[in-house]
């Protein structure tokens, strides 16, 4: 089964860019990503630039409306995702618990919808 792990963080708690803490943080993400690849469970994943770079798009009555910022103002922002292929929810949650942001942020684990192949 495939699961998406949506990674949420409070950006005000993140270490300053180019600081030794940020480098150590990056190292931790690389380590766990490598671990997922070695275990053969990683389907994909990306880190995102900050929410201040986000643009939200809506089409209303034919009009395309853009607005600055993420669609919902929350303290924790979506900062990246992984897609894993694992046997069950327990395994997906065990991977989520290993992520470097688990002690400070939150990880939402969602099953990926299976679209039946056209026959």
């Amino acid at each position: 089964m495939q699961y998406m792990l949506l990674l949420y963080d409070d950006p005000s708690a993140a270490p300053a860019p180019d600081s030794p803490e940020a480098a150590a943080d990056f190292e931790r993400w690389m380590t766990v990503t490598q671990e997922m690849q070695d275990a053969g469970v990683m389907v994909g994943g990306e880190a995102l630039l900050g929410a201040e770079t986000a643009t939200t798009v809506r089409v209303r009555e034919g009009d395309t409306l853009l607005s600055d910022g993420p669609f919902a103002e929350t303290k924790e922002h979506l900062g990246g995702y992984y897609v894993l292929d694992v046997p069950d929810l327990d395994t997906a949650c065990a991977w989520a618990a290993k992520l470097p942001n688990a002690p400070t942020g939150s990880i939402e684990v969602r099953p990926v919808m299976e679209i039946p192949a056209p026959t």
């Binding site: 699961y3 046997p87 929810l89 327990d90 997906a92 099953p111």
Partner: protein, 417 residues
Amino acid sequence: MTGQRAVELAFREEAPAVLATLIRQVGDFDLAEDAVQDAFAAAVASWPRDGIPERPGAWITTTARRRAIDRLRRDRGLADRMAALQRLTEIDALRRDEEAALDAPAIGDDRLRLLFTCCHPALAMDARVALTLRALGGLTTAEVARALLVSEETMRRRLSRAKRKIAAAGIPYRVPGDEDLPKRLRGVLAVVYLIFNEGYAAAAGERLVRGELCAEAIRLGRLLVRLVPGDAETEGLLALMLLQDARREARVDEHGAYVALDEQDRSRWDAGRIAEGREALRRALERRAPGTYQLQAAIAALHCEAPDAAATDWPQIAALYGELARRAPSPVIEVNRAVAVAFAGGDGLAVLAPLLGDERLAEYQPLHAAHAELLRRAGDGARADAAYGRAIELSDNAVERAELERRQADVQADRSS
């Protein structure tokens, strides 16, 4: 006994085990449940006519499995339909003795697996309670709804949402591995104790006791002790529930009014329950792995051992509450500790003082009820009167409110005389 009643009893006894096995074999909660329901309907039709089968459990298992096969053949929408169908057909072709040999060691495991699934932390707490009662307790949806004081429709939706999440989110049907087992087992115990408490002290509604839930929780407790042998806290929880349940009848008088512990007729305590509870506690304590359920059970045992309220070993109870507060600090435990300290001759009001200064507890009813009680014992009628007033205001249990009003009236009478 009428045929219909015999069928109901047999199902209550056998259905959870049959359901657990069938869920493993077909891998689908709803289909298994429907098939067991079909078997029930078949029994209602045939048992009163042909007599109760010699082994009702085996009859239900075979019938439910064949109904599941029928349903699998009809319902083409189901994922993994062919694999499930093949599995069931193979089992169905076995001779009775071969089948029994195949199932016998797995039956206990199946129920344990199902219990861990129903109590999975990815499900909402109210869903865990409802699913556990439905799947492991063998209660119908209507019975679960009645016991938990919600409408049947609400319960049906709650159960189907939970089952959908189990299937869609891939909540596994298995006993957790060694690493996760202790924590997940604690979670299962918490659900069982919640079921017990839901029955023991219904906060809302007129009936103080919904005994069916207590009995169900105790059955689950016994099952867990059997399936997870050697766990001190599992035995501790069973002991705690038995020792509390022993006093259940005595908590309500013949008019349905609440009777406080110190005023209960102790001859109405259930000696069988007390003996079983003390035995479970003894086994638990021998394992030298203390925990909060064992501590609470030890407190309950001290109450049960005392011939009357005055002869209770209050210093020991106060010390046990102190240890509980250290392991699992909470206002509930502090309030109880304050009462025990006061009954042991110490300054219980001093224990309550920090709680009374905590704004977050301003509407915590048991705190004000205990405060009133300790003020009354200390002879401070004026402040006791006010504290009873506050406790009565915050109470949503009619039986308990009546008792507080009686005590407030006593205090008021003393003050005016």
